[in-house]
């Protein structure tokens, strides 16, 4: 495959999005085929949105979650994991690989961890494609 995989990132407004922004400000390198959508809290992401993204041609989805730091509620991690579990099931039914949907906690200044996660994910996706 000639073109690099396309990744859609869901970041959260107050915690992980500043880190994604900071990665750019600090001129850290990560592939240009990474697109970001910001939501207030990762638990509000709907499985059908994720499925829609795959239908529209994204090869991978990365959810940059708040982890236990979420200011909207302590159950954010469980709820987001629930969303991912449901989506994984839907993906299996559609014949998609569940490993192309990933989630990790990214703090407000975790620019380095974000870049590391996204470049690692990109490599994994490239292998999957082959």
């Amino acid at each position: 495959m000639n073109t690099p995989p396309k990744i859609l990132v869901f970041s959260t407004e107050k915690i992980s999005d500043p880190a994604v922004d900071l990665a750019g400000l600090l001129k850290k390198h990560y592939p240009a085929t990474v697109y970001t959508i910001t939501v207030p809290c990762s638990s509000s992401i709907k499985p059908r949105w994720l499925m829609h993204a795959y239908e529209k041609g994204f090869d991978g989805i990365f959810i940059a979650a708040d982890g236990t730091d979420c200011s909207f509620g302590e159950s954010c991690v469980e709820k987001t994991s629930g969303v991912i579990a449901v989506t994984h099931q839907m993906m299996r039914e559609k014949g998609l690989k569940p490993s192309t949907l990933k989630m990790a906690a990214i703090c407000s200044v975790c620019a380095d961890p974000f870049v590391k996660q996204i470049t690692g994910f990109m490599k994994e996706l490239e292998k999957t494609e082959i």
Binding site: K14, I15, D21, L22, S71, S108, A111, D112
Partner: protein, 441 residues
């Protein structure tokens, strides 16, 4: 229609009565406000800066755990900003606090204009791109520049732009560039009135300005910086993504720290220990040895005060990593042509006057009281101690009490202290306030 209006009026009146007003939204103010709000009290939180977070949000890491300061504080910041029981006003200062006949506090607040409609700004920073004015960035401690219309810093909350009207030339470029038409130059200073049953003072500290110690050459020698400027260079939201000395942008090889700059020093009027400068310098030394593995770090101290849990081990760890601790107070600094600095000092261990050359000098500045809030209380006196910190009349058994009933104090408003102690003090202030509010019923 009339009924609707009445309801609106009543709601407005209700929202102006708060259980507690917290002055200052640094880590102490946030912690007190959050604790009280979680207990169900209605809290009014005011902050004079454009973003909440205080000084902690600007730090690199915290000692002795080396946890990322911003990572710890941002979740608290966003929780404070969105808590349903907290009403937050940034760019706001209390003008007067008067105890009224109902034994509550009538408060007059002054809210400075932001010249940006808060609810409309999306934080896209398009205005920053087009602004032609360049001025120094106070949140990066003047290491770099910012525009006249700006978002205070990357992780600022609220993430809303503001216009620095003193430096703005009112060219209108931001107004044209703003996609949501949020720039509004017609905004004026607002006066807000509120009533609070109690007040928590969490106004924090001021940093010592070392320009008054002439022998250190701060302000004259470019490569003499303050510890806060070094802190910014080490922070994840750092300006250069590297450690650079200001004169020529070179990566420093020999760095010196001068402890007790502006603390434990009668000549500058601050005879007390700053409580944190030994430890934050030790922390910075460890971080520097990680960032610049080839650099030598020397730390000139009077006494090492590693008093807290895990602090001494942290100090010993820095020594094991190769930090060179030198007991001696610096007598003078002079600058060489290449920007390097010669430090003259008495080495107390050997008893000799010695000179050593460094290419960057960091002044470990102390903490000073911030007593401006005392002027705001009009019909009662908020007492201060001889060093202008808020007086704690019952220090041992009720450290959050002040000389005014119903006014409590949290964090470094009472004395210099580190972050763990500040958070504990803020918790104490919140529980003392809650107990007072319960007694009022």
């Amino acid at each position: 229609m009339l009924i609707k209006d009445e309801i609106v009026q009543e709601t407005c009146f209700d929202t102006a009565l708060y259980d507690a007003m917290v002055v200052g939204a640094g880590i102490a103010g946030e912690e007190s406000a959050l604790k009280l709000a979680d207990m169900g009290y209605k809290v009014l939180l005011i902050e004079k800066e454009a973003s909440i977070g205080g000084k902690m949000i600007l730090l690199s890491k915290v000692f002795p755990t080396l946890d990322c300061a911003a990572c710890i504080t941002t979740p608290k910041v966003s929780e404070t900003a969105r808590h349903p029981n907290i009403t937050l006003h940034t760019l706001t200062e209390a003008e007067s606090i008067v105890r009224n006949a109902d034994n509550q506090f009538s408060v007059v607040l002054k809210k400075k204009p932001r010249y940006v409609i808060e609810n409309d700004c999306t934080g896209c920073q398009e205005c920053e791109k087009v602004c032609p004015v360049i001025t120094s960035d106070q949140f990066q401690f003047n290491l770099v520049a910012r525009k006249a219309v700006y978002i205070p810093f990357t992780i600022a909350n609220p993430r809303v732009a503001l216009v620095d009207i003193e430096n703005c030339m009112q060219c209108g470029a931001c107004e044209k560039a703003c996609p949501s038409s949020a720039i509004d130059f017609s905004q004026e200073e607002e006066t807000l009135n509120a009533t609070a049953k109690s007040v928590v003072v969490a106004t924090g500290f001021k940093l010592f300005d070392p320009i008054s110690i002439e022998r250190y050459g701060y302000g004259r020698y470019k490569n003499v910086i303050t510890s806060m400027q070094m802190e910014r260079q080490l922070a994840p939201t750092r300006p250069f993504n590297n450690i650079l000395r200001p004169s020529d942008g070179k990566m420093p090889d020999k760095i010196a720290y001068i402890f007790c700059t502006g603390s434990r020093d009668h000549t500058v009027g601050n005879p007390i220990c700053s409580q944190v400068c030994c430890m934050y310098s030790t922390k910075q030394a460890q971080l520097l040895m990680g960032a610049l593995p080839m650099a030598d770090v020397s730390l000139y101290y009077i006494n090492i005060r590693a008093f807290g849990k895990g602090y001494n081990e942290f100090y010993l760890q820095a020594k094991d990593m190769g930090a060179k601790y030198v007991k001696g107070k610096i007598a003078s600094i002079r600058e060489k042509e290449n920007g390097n600095l010669i430090l003259r000092y008495e080495d107390i261990i050997t008893g000799t006057v010695t000179e050593s050359e460094h290419d960057l000098v960091v002044l470990s500045v102390g903490l000073l009281a911030n007593p401006e809030i005392t002027k705001v209380f009009k019909n009662e006196k908020l007492e201060t101690d001889p060093l202008n910190y808020i007086l704690q009349p019952d220090l041992l058994s009720n450290p959050a009490l002040t000389s005014i009933e119903g006014v409590f104090v949290a964090g470094t408003s009472t004395a210099p202290m580190d972050i763990p102690d500040t958070i504990m003090s803020a918790g104490a202030a919140a529980s003392e306030t809650s107990s007072y509010l319960k007694r009022l019923l």
